[in-house]
Every structure is written in structure tokens, then in C-alpha cells.
């Protein structure tokens, strides 16, 4: 691990720890409306200022971090799991199963990703679970392609032949012999994509499709403060800075992973 990635990792962990610990630290409640202190600029009482309803921005940024990052983590994990399973089955069994599953992947990839996520999230009741579902439906395809490709090469290896020869069934070969070799690949890919998931969650929240107000999420905070950009720019700057910093940290670590595992050929974006 390079010095840079180590520094990035430390920043990220500090930030995550701060977010996770926020409910237990002496911060003002992120939801308490204080009409006497609307749009206060940053001060010692409110280091990030207060928003248009007098709520403490620092507290909201930290509490929002928990929601934003956990939604992204869950979406990445679910995407990886679906893509991993589909890729295994598709690559190992081949034939019609493969054709149908890969047609589904091609089908999903032929939508602009955000519009597809928007279409899914408007069908579902608004909230963080809808965002998780929408991001997972959009996100699993690249995992499936990657794992499938790996399985295609693995299943020709002699250890698979040997396992078959000693009488292992297909399920056993797939689960005990091939899956463990593909798992790291899916995990690396999930690491590379985390930054993208964080941004996608924020974009859906910005569009009003994520966690509903008054719950603090970075995207929703920016969206709600947009109208006050002239009179209270800090209400836009700080949530956005937290979001950018998080996405940047995840993306730098992702770069490191990409370089280390030589996944250059992965589809961009």
C-alpha cells in the first residue's frame, strides 16, 4: 500500500468513525428546528453554521454520513452478491442459461443508468430502501460480466476436471471450487465501485428520491439549501465537501485496487 492510499484510508476511517459516533457525541440534534438561529454563519457554537430551519449543519453532515455511506455500502454489497451469483451460474453452465442471463445484462446496460434508477425509485415508495434497490438493480451487471469472464477461464482448468473426476457434483464444483476463486474479484470490483455508489446515492437524494426529509442526507441537504446559496452558502458548501471528500477517498482507494489487481479492462463509469 502506498503512503498516499494509507493517508486516504486514515482520513476515510476518521470520517466514518466521526459519522458513526455522532449520535453519542455532544452535538446538537440534527433534526431540532431553532427558529431563533436561522442561517447563522459558521461560529464556535455552530462550526458549519445553521441551515434555513436553524438546524446545526455540522451535526447534520455527520449524521447524514451514516445514511449516505451505509446506503452506498448496502447497494454495493447487494450488487456484488447478485452479480457474483449470476456470473457464476452464467459462466459455469453456459448455453441457454448464459444466453438468457447475458441478454438481461445487455438489456439493463442499454438504459442510461440514472434514468433507470429514477424510474425504479419512483415506482417504489420513497426512502432509503428504494434507493438501495434501485442502485442494486442498476449496479449488479458489471459484477456479473466480470465474474462470468473469470469463470469461463476457470472451468477449463485441470483442478475442475479433477474435482469432477473424483465425483463432485456441479453444485459442489461451483460452490466449493470455483466460487472461492471468484470472490476476491467481486470484492475488488465492489471496492472500485464504492465511490460511484456514494455519488449515485447522493444524486438520487438530491432529486428527492432518497431518504425523505427531515432525515439528513448529503444530497437532500444540498438540494434543500440550493435556494439559499447566496444568503447561506455554507449550507451548500459543507455537505457537498463531505460528499466529495468521501467519494474522492473511495475513488483513490479504488484506483489503488484497480492498479494492484490490474483490472484496467473494467468498463469505465
Amino acid at each position: 500500500m502506498t503512503g498516499r492510499s494509507r493517508a486516504v484510508l486514515i482520513i476515510l476511517l476518521l470520517f466514518l468513525a466521526g459519522s458513526a459516533a455522532a449520535p453519542f457525541l455532544p452535538f446538537p440534534d440534527p433534526l431540532t428546528i431553532d427558529l431563533d438561529h436561522l442561517k447563522q454563519p459558521p461560529s464556535s457554537a455552530h462550526p458549519f453554521g445553521t441551515d434555513s430551519k436553524g438546524r446545526d449543519v455540522l451535526s447534520r453532515v455527520l449524521h447524514g454520513g451514516v445514511i449516505s455511506i451505509s446506503v452506498a455500502l448496502v447497494a454495493a454489497a447487494v450488487s456484488a452478491l447478485i452479480g457474483f451469483s449470476v456470473g457464476l451460474v452464467s459462466g459455469y453452465f453456459g448455453g441457454k442459461t448464459d444466453t438468457v442471463l447475458m441478454a438481461l445484462v445487455d438489456f439493463l446496460l442499454s438504459f442510461p443508468s440514472l434514468l433507470l434508477a429514477v424510474a425504479i425509485s419512483v415506482v417504489l415508495p420513497p426512502g432509503i430502501y428504494s434507493v438501495m434497490i434501485a442502485l442494486s438493480v442498476v449496479g449488479w451487471t458489471s459484477f456479473a460480466r466480470l465474474v462470468r469472464g473469470h469463470v469461463l477461464t476457470l472451468k477449463e482448468s485441470s483442478f475442475v476436471e479433477a474435482a469432477r473426476a473424483v465425483g463432485c457434483g456441479h453444485m459442489r464444483v461451483l460452490v466449493r471450487h470455483i466460487a472461492p476463486l471468484c470472490l476476491p474479484l467481486a470484492l475488488v470490483m465492489a471496492g472500485i465501485k464504492l465511490g460511484g455508489f456514494v455519488l449515485a446515492e447522493a444524486t438520487l437524494s438530491f432529486l428527492g428520491l432518497g431518504a425523505q426529509p427531515p432525515a439528513p442526507t448529503w444530497g437532500a441537504m444540498i438540494s434543500a439549501s440550493r435556494a439559499y446559496i447566496i444568503t447561506a452558502p455554507w449550507t451548500v458548501i459543507f455537505p457537498g465537501a463531505a460528499l466529495t471528500l468521501t467519494a474522492l477517498c473511495f475513488n483513490i482507494l479504488g484506483e489503488e485496487l484497480r492498479g494492484r489487481f490490474e483490472l484496467k479492462g473494467l468498463r469505465e463509469g
Partner: protein
């Protein structure tokens, strides 16, 4: 070639069927019974039953879907709940603005991104390469709805150089196009750098140098020609990100296009508008991807379109 195009155009059918089916389910999932809305809750069951037959809501789900497809085929995307205007004609009016914005963003992103990527590939170690590398990570990490607001705050509200919002000529398009171009430029710079560095070490580039060709000539004819396929792929794929980004950018800068229309639809829960925009965006995206694939064939005749599948 012709067969390939036909096959690809036919592939549009399942994609459109899929998106319209999602759209249809969405319309069905909206709470409230349209019949009850029409006659009021106190009507007699006979009248309700009769009306159900008339508007066809007593039919099976698939039959209703077929009816919906029929409407779409006739260009009837419904009317906005909010403005009661025809959705399709609104889309037709706003689409050119979005295309104009996407094109402007491309005109910024493509030359700058490709040049930055080339420069970084030529000078591997140095401040320039480091800057390009930093930009290629930072550019995809900054959410455009945030960078857009900050740039607007700085350029329009503090320095008062350009108008903060509105649809119009060059003065209005610069800011949204610049913001929209950032992530695309970052991706393009990275892909170009990788592609060009891979070509630079090939023997034919050495030969060209040995022959005494000028650097410009080598870059354009010997390097870029070989590095262009991945670059074009990204330019094509990025069109999708322009569509995605347009929703946010147009909203922030008040640009009267498809993206802002989508956002208005979402905010107002104006389902016909959301559906119309999603369908229009998808068709556009699929068509651009098709064009990109066809372009490969001309850029690199070795690419065979017909049996690319393993």
C-alpha cells in the same frame, strides 16, 4: 453490415418493451382508483362497474398494457398532471435544448480531455502527468450538483461574469456545459492516457520516429489512429452520462431541456412527464450507442461487428 444494423435496431424492441412495461406498472402502482376519482365515492356500484368497462380497467393486466402501448405508438404520452400540456410535444420542444447542451459539453470535454490524456502519456513523470492523474480521479468524485452550484456562486453571483440561469445563447450555455463536461473530461483524460501509452511503446512508433517524421505527424497519424477506438467508446458511453448529468445541470442552471423537465416531473410526482422523459432518454441513449458501434467499423476495420460474441 446491413444485417447488423437491422439486428441492433430490432434489439431496441425488447428495451422499449421493458421500459414501457416498467412505466405501465408505475402508472398502475399510483395510489387511488381512477374510476372512483371520476364518479366520486358515493356512486352506485352499477355505475362504477359500467365505467370500469368503458375505460377498460376491468380487463386483464396484459390487455391494459397492450392498450397503453397502442397509445404510445400513436404518440400519445398523456398529459402532464400539473400543466395539462401534451407530454410528447413538450419533450419535442425541449429535446433540442438538451442536445445543444450535450454537444457544447462534448466540445469542451473531448478536445481538452484527449489533449490532457495525450500530454500525460507523453510526459510520464512530471507535474503535468501528476496534475492530469489528480484531475482524472477528482473529476469523477465531485458531484456535479455541488460543483455546479459552487461555480455558479463564484462566476455568476460573486464575479458577475455570466448569467446564473436561463436558456439562451453562448453566455447562457457556457456554465452548464462546463459543469457537465467535468466528469466526462476526467474519464476521457484517463482512458486516452492509457490508450496512448499502450501505443507509444509499439515498434511502429519507433520506426516513424526513425524515419524523421515530425512529432505532430506521429501523434496524429501513428499514435491517435491506433488509440482512438477506446477513446471513441468512452465518448459514446459518456453520452449517457450527459443525459444523466443533464437532469442535475439543467435544473441548477435553469436550462429549459429534457433534464429539467424530468426533475420537474419528479418533484411534482407528475408521472406522465417522468415516463415520457425516461422513454425519450432511453431511446436517445440506445441510438447513440448504436452509432458508436457503427463508428468502430470505420475507425478500425479489424473490428468485426457481426460475430463479436465469444
Amino acid at each position: 453490415m446491413g444485417r447488423y444494423i437491422i439486428k441492433r435496431v430490432l434489439l431496441l424492441i425488447p428495451v422499449l418493451a421493458g421500459i414501457t412495461f416498467v412505466a405501465f406498472l408505475l402508472l398502475k402502482a399510483i395510489p387511488g382508483d381512477p374510476v372512483l376519482n371520476l364518479v366520486g365515492e358515493r356512486s352506485s356500484p352499477e355505475i362504477i362497474e359500467q365505467l370500469r368497462k368503458e375505460i377498460g380497467s376491468d380487463r386483464g393486466l396484459l390487455q391494459q398494457y397492450a392498450g397503453y402501448l397502442g397509445l404510445l405508438a400513436r404518440g400519445d404520452f398523456g398529459r402532464s398532471y400539473h400543466t395539462n400540456r401534451d407530454v410528447l410535444s413538450d419533450i419535442a420542444a425541449k429535446l433540442p435544448n438538451t442536445l445543444r447542451l450535450a454537444l457544447a459539453a462534448m466540445m469542451i470535454a473531448v478536445p481538452l480531455g484527449v489533449m490532457a490524456g495525450c500530454a500525460a502519456a507523453y510526459h510520464k513523470s512530471g507535474a503535468l502527468a501528476a496534475a492530469v492523474e489528480a484531475f482524472s480521479v477528482a473529476g469523477v468524485s465531485v458531484p456535479i450538483f455541488w460543483s455546479g452550484l459552487l461555480i455558479m456562486l463564484l462566476v455568476s453571483l460573486e464575479l458577475r461574469l455570466l448569467p446564473p440561469s436561463g436558456t439562451g445563447g453562448l453566455r447562457f450555455i457556457i456554465l452548464p456545459a462546463a459543469v457537465l463536461s467535468i466528469p466526462a473530461m476526467a474519464t476521457l483524460a484517463r482512458v486516452t492516457r492509457t490508450a496512448v501509452s499502450e501505443v507509444l511503446v509499439m515498434p511502429h512508433v519507433n520506426t516513424a520516429r526513425a524515419k524523421g517524421l515530425t512529432a505532430t505527424r506521429i501523434t496524429l497519424l501513428h499514435v491517435m489512429k491506433n488509440a482512438i477506438v477506446p477513446v471513441v467508446t468512452i465518448i459514446g458511453l459518456d453520452f449517457g452520462s450527459y443525459l444523466n448529468g443533464a437532469v442535475v445541470t439543467e435544473t441548477i442552471f435553469g436550462w429549459d431541456g429534457l433534464g429539467r423537465f424530468t426533475m420537474e416531473g419528479i418533484t411534482m410526482r407528475d408521472y406522465p412527464v417522468i415516463l415520457g422523459c425516461v422513454i425519450a432518454g432511453t431511446v436517445l441513449f440506445v441510438l447513440v450507442n448504436l452509432l458508436t458501434d457503427l463508428l468502430y467499423h470505420y475507425l478500425d476495420p479489424r473490428v468485426r461487428l457481426y460475430d463479436r460474441k465469444k
